[in-house]
């Protein structure tokens, strides 16, 4: 049996215990500590999945800053949770439904590290792997860049003849040298189209800020209303 698989299974079981404990523990300070433990464990899990950057962020933000913020809140509010035993059935059903839809979505995803994944199977993939990493000449006039593109496109249609009709079918051409210096499509979007990635990340942060403002504004008669915003 694969050794990493055993480690992964134990890690996931520990994560499950931690998640249930975070919800069940009545002492909110203990819940903050346990959620910090959850962050540390899931950082290990990200490392086994080769997502070291995500693991870094999880350890710094999840185990560091959020724990401090949670404890800061507990200092202001007190650390005992009001006991509320009744199960809210519509909420439980909504959670189970959303979880079920997410799991159903993962069923059609390719396996982890699958070389036959769609990201590796794009019609232009073979053309990209043949292409050398090269940049269009910089500091030249627009016409020169166009001429360079045309020349390179001619060169490619010579030695990549069998891919030519594929390229026509997708409506893209090898002459477009600003695209696809990275063979993997996902990496290409994250690296070559960094601007889009960052733009939508800022959109997420903007949405979170908007949500916070709407939440903290409160209703009429809230004493905090004038003070915060």
């Amino acid at each position: 049996m694969n050794g990493m698989l055993i480690i992964d299974l134990i890690l996931l079981a520990l994560l499950l215990i931690t998640a249930v404990a975070t919800v069940e523990v009545r002492n909110l300070f203990a819940a903050a500590m346990i959620s910090s433990i959850y962050s540390l464990l899931i950082a290990c899990f990200w490392t086994t999945m080769d997502a070291v950057d995500v693991a870094y962020t999880e350890a710094a933000v999840g185990a560091g800053i959020s724990t401090i913020l949670l404890i800061g809140t507990l200092v202001l509010t007190g650390s005992r949770e009001t006991v509320r035993k009744a199960v809210h059935w519509p909420a439980l059903l909504a959670c189970l439904g959303a979880g079920g839809v997410l799991i159903y979505g993962t069923l059609s995803m390719p396996a982890f590290g699958d070389p036959n994944a769609p990201a590796q199977q794009h019609p232009l993939y073979s053309g990209y792997t043949q292409q050398n990493v090269e940049k269009a000449p910089t500091g030249k006039s627009h016409e020169n860049v166009e001429a360079y593109k045309a020349e390179q496109a001619a060169k490619h249609s010579e030695h990549a003849g069998e891919h030519a009709e594929q390229d026509h079918s997708t409506g893209s051409a090898h002459g477009d040298f600003y695209h696809g210096h990275v063979p993997n499509q996902v990496t290409s979007i994250i690296v070559d189209y960094r601007g889009f990635d960052t733009m939508f990340e800022t959109c997420v942060i903007f949405t979170a800020g908007l949500g916070l403002i709407v939440l903290l504004r409160g209703r009429k008669g809230n004493p905090l209303r004038g003070g915060l915003l």
């Binding site: 050794g3 055993i6 404990a21 433990i37 070291v52 185990a63 404890i71 200092v75 590290g113």
Partner: protein, 99 residues
């Protein structure tokens, strides 16, 4: 080809490293019990700190399992982060502020 190589090296996990990993995770389980049951706040902070140490060791072990010993650097950063987080939490509890 790179993917195939990575999978192959994962399959060649040697037994001592694997046993070490399982022992570490068993330790995490025991600490988790202390963090959930632990009567005082300081039990829980201690459990969190020790689990952070074990996470750093775990990442180093994962590095050796996948034959990428450069994960050791990441483990060092984790140890530093863990120390800082524990100090910050303790300071917050003692003084009720970070300043």
């Amino acid at each position: 080809m790179m993917l195939a190589l990575a999978t192959e090296s994962m399959l060649r996990t040697d037994i001592p490293t694997l046993v070490g990993g399982i022992a570490l995770l068993a330790g995490v389980l025991l600490l988790l019990v202390r963090a959930i049951a632990g009567p005082t706040t300081y039990d829980r902070i201690l459990a969190m700190n020790a689990i952070g140490t074990k996470a750093a060791l775990m990442i180093a072990l994962i590095g050796f399992m996948t034959e990428r010993p450069d994960f050791l650097d990441i483990a060092l950063v984790y140890a530093i982060l863990n120390f800082l987080a524990t100090i910050a939490i303790l300071k917050f509890i003692r003084h009720r502020r970070l300043g």
